[in-house]
Amino acid sequence: MLLIITNDIILLAHGDGGLLTHQLLQKHFLPYFNNELLGDLTDAACFPVQTGRMALSTDSFVVDPVFFPGGDIGKLAVCGTVNDLAVSGARPAYLTASFIIEEGFLLASLEKIIISMSETCREADVKIVAGDTKVVGRGQADKIFITTTGAGYLLPGVNLGYHCIKPGDRVLVNGCVGNHGLAILLQREELGLDSQVVSDCAPLNKIIEKLLHQFKGVKLMRDLTRGGLATAAKEIALASGVDIWLNEAALPVEESVKGITGLLGLDSLYLANEGKFLAVIDSGMAEAAVSALRKEPLGKDACLIGEVETGKGNVYLKTVLGGARKLDMLAGAPLPRIC
């Protein structure tokens, strides 16, 4: 019986639970994801737990293109969930990864994604302990979708929450905003811009853990993914019933990002980031926290960008002109304009 005619692309049979599924797992997933919990290939990963509280988060990744400057869907799938746990004050420990693959997807591409996931897991010090693979027919999915779920232990003594936020607190960000969203947008062939903007995709758990360990005055953190900085700030302001004033002159934005957003009429405040977090911190520790962050590669452009005031859930940008611009949540994905 000739089972494999080609071994370069994913076939529906790779997802039927039979021989090809087994081969896919053994040859392409396990060599990279291998750890004592996954290696058993039992139906569930079983592990001992520590005392305290756990955090659980899940996210699906459908990014198009699958490969982009600065990362790929695999790296993103690990970072996204790791960062969600990290900004919640947890130390990420375990991930599950579920793949939905469109038939015809290149095995070489899949392997590249798997390698990238395993490297990012190593960087973030997390393990993929359970997984699943399904293959769907042409057109039923776009190339590859990945869902990751992550579990982590809440760091002892860390107590983050909207209720901790008080007028006078400062707002900081760990670096330049807008890169990921713009990097993805620029991959569209129709835009015809060759400019290389690199996604900031990175696991933030280590830098955040250091920050939380050193500075007990951190009140709340958010990663600045879809909707960008402005949407995250608005959500925080609404949930905690304060106003947030961001200072336009202090916002870190790379020159190239400034240039292209100007060209395409985009606003870096609303572009997605995958390696950036915002923290609300007690004003007394704010400057020291920024200095500490700046010693880390993922925080070298950290800045204080605003402060909390009494109010009703509004976010304002103090403009370079000295005026105030009210910021709302993102309304529809950013599109390049000519107007």
Partner: protein
């Protein structure tokens, strides 16, 4: 509707009416057919939707800066 961004010409392919301009460190290919004056390396062009619509007159720009200085010292 008229986003237009100035960029500095870094290279020209005259036969194809194309030039590469740089703004904010980003290089971009633009069509220069519409520019009436001769386009030289180092010129600044304002680009709208991929087409240069005009060349920045640097002397006029300088004059403008002077005018603002005058506004500022005015009564």
């Amino acid at each position: 509707m008229c986003l237009g961004i100035p960029g500095k010409v870094v290279s020209i392919s005259p036969g194809e009416n194309q030039a590469v301009i740089e703004s904010f460190g980003i290089q971009n290919k633009v069509n220069i057919f519409l520019v009436e004056e001769e386009v030289k390396i180092g010129d600044y062009l304002v680009v709208h939707a991929g087409y240069a619509i005009g060349k920045v007159n640097l002397q006029e720009a300088q004059e403008r800066l002077k005018l603002w200085e005058e506004i500022l010292v005015a009564e």
